[in-house]
Subunit: 417 residues, 2 copies
């Protein structure tokens, strides 16, 4: 007797927690991802900022589910979903038939129609992105050390982060710490402490998803680190060595993109309505309208929460959606009605730097050192793999006491800069 086949596209938070939730069920599971590893995205900026190694925050998907004998993991690129024939076509032309499908392919960064900015202002989604940003940041200081022209040196020591969401805030804070602390004594011809870090935000505030008191705390902490904040400043042009924002040109050799998000193109192959960012408008049960056997979870799903506002693209939403999709699949197998998804908000956190963070836990709001400890604790706890937790804890402890960055490597020199 054959068991139902559940195919999961994507091994991020949504897909992985769905696969885990199917652990003891009588189904065959196939997880497809274009990468061999699950990435703990909330700490990716620490790889870009030379604090952690890629291996510290990523584990092979097939290793994570190795004990789940009902799970098959495939390295592959999804070309198309055919909801009529009920199969997934991969880029190599092979087809994977499904009884139930969970689409969790997430998002990538968007340049709002300016794809030519991509190489000039890299974004942060993959490990390769993070290594490229690390490379550019470290190389900028090396080049400044050798530069005699003062204006060019100034541009090499100017770092522009575009976007004031959690990723932008985390990167701007980390850049300030690198310049003012970690590198302070390492150069002979430049003073890294004189670096200029500019955080550019199109809207009127940082961390728009947080309550006003925490936004103010984050802004104060960033300013204390010496980060220059610009609000109401959409970026209108990015050229090599300079960025136009608010009618002014900023001369900066290193520009980092933390602004826009676009849905994975896999969603569009479903042939249903998408929102402006390309996300799939799912039913309250997380299904694709008209296809009760196809679920979309995580960043790719567009759904409003109980407050009528869209659910944010964070790990907790993806995890809970993945688990809920599994519960609905099990109900469908038992011919019971599906249930709507209810998001249980566990809170929202962002870190600014050493001993500085903001945490919105509903009734409790934390800032500064306490919020930072909470942030450390939550992130360590959620990292997958005992070894990773131990190594990350060790790296953090060392960084805390030494003010140093553990992984200041410039690699990948044959890639374009």
């Amino acid at each position: 007797m054959s068991v139902p086949h559940v195919v999961i596209l994507g091994g991020g938070f949504g897909g992985l927690y769905a696969a885990r939730a199917l652990k003891r069920e009588r189904v065959a599971v196939t997880v497809v991802d274009r990468r061999n590893h699950h990435l703990f995205q909330p700490l990716l900026y620490q790889v870009a900022m030379a604090a952690l190694s890629p291996g510290d925050i990523a584990s092979p998907i097939r290793w994570i589910v190795r004990k789940q004998r009902n799970v098959d993991v495939l390295l592959g690129d999804v070309r198309q979903i055919d909801t009529t024939a009920r199969l997934v076509r991969l880029e190599d032309g092979s087809d994977i038939p499904y009884d139930f499908l969970i689409v969790a392919t997430g998002t990538t960064h968007a340049y709002f129609g300016h794809d030519e900015w991509r190489t000039l202002a890299p974004g942060l989604k993959t490990l390769d992105d993070a290594l490229e940003i690390r490379r550019r940041v470290l190389l900028a200081f090396e080049r400044a050390e050798r530069e005699n022209d003062l204006a060019r040196r100034r541009a090499l020591l100017t770092f522009v982060v575009i976007g004031g969401g959690p990723t932008g805030v985390e990167m701007a804070g980390a850049l300030a710490e690198i310049a003012k602390k970690s590198l302070a004594r390492d150069f002979r011809h430049i003073d890294p402490r004189s670096s200029r870090i500019v955080l550019v935000e199109a809207g009127q505030t940082l961390l728009a998803a947080f309550p006003a008191s925490l936004r103010a705390a984050a802004q104060r902490d960033l300013e204390r680190l010496g980060v220059e904040l610009r609000f109401g400043s959409p970026v209108t042009a990015v050229h090599p060595g300079r960025v136009e924002t608010g009618g002014e040109w900023l001369h900066a050799e290193t520009v980092i993109w933390a602004a826009g998000v676009a849905a994975s193109p896999v969603g569009a192959t479903l042939g249903v309505r998408l929102d402006r960012a390309g996300r799939v408008l799912v039913t309250p049960e997380l299904c694709v309208p008209g296809h009760p056997d196809v679920f979309v979870v995580g960043d790719l799903a567009a759904l409003n929460g109980a407050d009528g506002k869209p659910l944010p693209g964070v790990a907790q939403v993806a995890i809970q959606m993945g688990q809920h999709a599994v519960r609905n699949i099990l109900r469908a197998i038992e011919r019971q009605p599906l249930r709507p998804f209810v998001y249980r908000d566990l809170g929202n956190m962002a870190t600014i730097g050493r001993a500085s963070a903001v945490a919105d836990l509903g009734r409790v709001r934390l800032t500064g050192y306490v919020a930072w400890l909470a942030w450390l604790f939550v992130h360590l706890l959620n990292l997958i793999g005992f070894r990773n937790r131990l190594v990350v804890m060790l790296q953090w402890a060392w960084a805390y006491f030494s003010y140093q960055r553990a992984v200041r490597l410039i690699t990948g020199s044959d890639r374009p800069t």
Copy 2:
């Protein structure tokens, strides 16, 4: 009053230990390297074999010497040395004048006139090399899992290592452990334990530099791990998916080069006699003949030891040469005669795998578990940076008890495979 300017080319073992030896001296030191990091080369194969992260075995050169206020570190590529004008020209056209020069630019891998093999059979010299090998090895298993054609699957699960020196032995042993232990349970359609690992050596023995009893022990340990050994088998052709050796074609998708070594091209710009591998034939004082102000140390220097045999290209020789060159420079500054270099042989080690190594410590020869513990101890002790030691120790302990590989990441997908 200006102090003498010592320029050091290369931040490997030779160059770095030379810079450190100049710590308290009244000289100005400039270290030039094309990479920003010192690499602990003896453990590089562990990065290629997914056991350690790049950051665990590499540290920024300028961080290592940050407290030595007389040292300036430059990221740059050497184009040419002009011993008449006494200056070093970099690729960007700038010149660095010197009073004393230490050339320590080392070696790269050589393909014996078959440079077209480079992309088919990558060698192991840099972190990028290691990540590329890791990528190929891990990807081969992923592709085999999806391959239905039995012959192609077999080729994907066949790994050929070319060269039976320490690096080849270490990689063949590690590959066997990855296939037979680390990955044993992770796949559903293939059995990684059925992988074939072939070590191909042109000569008649493994580890030619070791005494016969240790060579026999290494051979026995490798065979116990299931590695297939082929002696007297020079490689005569490398094509995509197959290697010709001893008149036979081996079908293997993954081929690793651990055979030839060629000197850095910087040596040739000195305009003096080189040996067949392009190394500089130095005087017993480690000078370039006719230029008592120019020293060559490490792998780039060709010099015979007390036994009349060429000194091997190992870390200890480079370190002692770097320190000796500094002593001779200090003598020259004080107008005293230079002294010949005497190598103090501290022994020679190679590791085969878990709890298996050989160590030749002069009168004492160790094999198996004891040799392996000695190997661990010596390598941990010599790693630079307290944090690195701790992290590596942790990774090793975890690997020992779990049989796992910590860093099984496939990254850099846009690079050619």
